[in-house]
């Protein structure tokens, strides 16, 4: 692995692996699953070279457990999986949310349901990214559409995980995970890398869940002079079980507020000729590319078309959708799932009167620009 201004033909999965190392990740625990296995392979080779640890666990439940443990011991830790493995990880991810444990999970989406078509793409995990854990919880989910975004959004994911003490999921579809594009890896230092806050108070005064003004508490590492008690039960600022209803309300609200109050930094979108768009195409992941191609065709025909790309899937880009979607006459949401998981959110934001067209595929095949144009004309 070479870092520095060299152009390489890089695979999406490779870019995410290298970005993790770039961001300082030194622990990988996972279970191989198509179409994410290349990440496990890369880590098995590279982690040792950079003084890190790579483990193949017995299953995905153990994988996310190991990641949480490593993170609490002070390492930037991550795992990679696909739908079936991501389903297995949900309970432990809930623990990571409750314990405010920074970690990154890569979910390279494939055609389900269940084992499905392992080598074929889909975007059917959108709602699972938001609601896979039971109860009131919130994570951050990012979705890259290019190999370059695979790299930069994975560095971003680690930064967000560290800054907000929360699991961050990076979830491209199989096409983006497996495609190769010419890409120039940045030099170390070119892209900002953020580390978690460590406590500044002495150990006897440290409370692992007493947040600073930014909504996030410093996190001391297991094995240091600080005691960091993490319980999956409802707990107080010191981490020990607490049954007080006022405490429960405070904790649940705080887990949400720490993200909501920083939406400027967390909700990332890109727009392409969308400011004056009569036809707004909303897309995420690989369907962004077909949408952009379709919008360019429409512009050639004199139709003011633009694209809003959702890079952050969760929290949802309510404001951006409302602003650009509100100006448009027609909104088109293109996604590789049956139910229109993002279209439903767009509908929620824009209300009953909006003209929202859905372009869906659920057969493991790619959506073409022509299919999108057909829905518009």
């Amino acid at each position: 692995m070479i870092v520095g201004r060299e152009v390489r033909l890089m695979q999406g999965n490779q870019a995410m692996s290298e970005a993790a190392i770039y961001a300082g990740a030194r622990f990988y625990a996972g279970y191989p699953i198509t179409p994410s296995s290349e990440i496990a392979e890369e880590c098995s080779k590279v982690m040792l070279q950079v003084g890190g640890v790579s483990m193949q666990m017995e299953d995905e439940i153990a994988s996310i457990a190991a990641v949480i443990g490593a993170s609490l011991a002070g390492a930037k830790a991550f795992t990679a999986t696909s739908g079936p493995g991501f389903s297995l990880m949900q309970e432990n991810l809930g623990l990571a949310v409750m314990g405010e444990v920074p970690c990154v999970v890569i979910d390279v989406q494939r055609r389900g349901p269940s084992t499905g078509l392992s080598t074929k793409p889909a975007q059917g995990d959108v709602m699972q990214l938001r609601w896979g854990r039971h109860g009131d919880q919130m994570v951050i989910a990012l979705c890259p559409a290019t190999v370059s975004e695979c790299f930069f959004m994975t560095v971003k994911a680690f930064n967000l995980a560290e800054k907000f003490r929360v699991p961050v999921i990076v979830s491209p579809d199989e096409i983006v995970g497996h495609m190769r594009e010419t890409f120039c890896v940045p030099e170390l230092g070119e892209v900002e890398v953020i580390d978690r806050k460590r406590p500044s108070v002495p150990p006897e005064r440290y409370k692992p869940f007493t947040a600073d003004a930014d909504g996030v508490a410093p996190l001391a590492a297991y094995g240091s002079d600080y005691i960091t008690h993490v319980s999956s039960s409802m707990h107080g600022p010191d981490g020990y079980s607490n049954n007080d209803p006022a405490n429960a309300a405070w904790r649940v609200a705080q887990l949400h507020r720490k993200i909501e109050m920083h939406r400027e930094e967390i909700v990332l979108t890109k727009s392409f000729a969308a400011d004056d768009a009569d036809v707004l195409l909303i897309a995420f992941g690989v369907t962004t590319r077909a949408s952009r191609a379709a919008a360019l065709e429409l512009r050639k025909e004199g139709i003011r078309a633009g694209v809003l790309q959702l890079i952050t899937l969760w929290p949802f880009a309510d404001q951006e959708v409302a602003l650009l979607g509100g100006r448009a006459k027609t909104v088109v949401v293109t996604e590789m799932n049956y139910s229109g998981q993002v279209a439903g959110e767009v509908q929620r934001v824009l209300g009953g009167g909006a003209d929202i067209r859905r372009v869906n595929s659920y057969n493991g095949q790619i959506i073409t620009p022509q299919a999108i144009l057909k829905a518009i004309r």
């Binding site: 033909l9 594009e181 952009r292 360019l296």
Partner: protein, 185 residues
């Protein structure tokens, strides 16, 4: 005669195990060495041998927005199934290279059938059909510089196998140079 242009779209299709994805990667790397922008995608089924497998490569000077081939400049078909899928592009004049050892002969001026498997086997490496075919395809349509692909092969293969593969590449190019004198293009 192909005039010089910047954008090329290539499809290479067949079955799992024929080295098509590797061919796509090598072609993409050659284009990268030419200083081009490249997107390479692939599709395959769950089994590592058999099933439909395909690599697509798009080469350009500027950003490649849509990642799939829409208007191929050249196609390689190594199975009947893939030939049936792509035969129609030959009617538009797009060269369709295929392996006569594995695929029934097709007629048409753009159809380019060669016994790739037999030639590769005679030269000592039947798994280098992909490189043999790439040599022919690049000689036919200059989507990358032949020397760039030779450089990619040098980086990827060691010792004896490197020599065999470089011979394969040259042999593929020769097939075209021999036939181009006889068929008006």
């Amino acid at each position: 005669m192909s005039e010089h242009k910047e954008r090329y779209e290539i499809i290479m299709a067949g079955s799992g195990g024929q080295g098509l994805v590797l061919a796509g990667i090598m072609l993409g790397e050659a284009a990268m060495f030419d200083g081009k922008v490249v997107v390479q995608t692939q599709t395959y089924e769950a089994a590592s041998r058999g099933g439909f497998s395909m690599a697509e490569v798009i080469i350009d000077r500027e950003e490649i927005i849509y990642q799939q081939v829409q208007d191929p400049d050249i196609v390689l078909a190594l199975t009947e199934e893939s030939m049936e899928k792509y035969a129609t592009v030959a009617e538009k004049g797009v060269p369709v290279f295929y392996d006569t050892t594995l695929v029934k002969a097709r007629s048409g001026i753009a159809m380019a059938g060669y016994p790739f498997t037999r030639i590769a086997s005679d030269l000592g490496n039947v798994s280098a059909v992909n490189i043999l075919a790439l040599g022919a395809m690049i000689a036919r349509i200059p989507m990358v510089r032949m020397e760039s692909l030779a450089g990619v092969i040098r980086k990827r293969f060691p010792g004896k196998i490197l020599e065999v593969n470089l011979t394969m590449l040259e042999k593929g190019a020769e097939l075209i140079r021999e036939t181009m004198g006889r068929i008006p293009i």
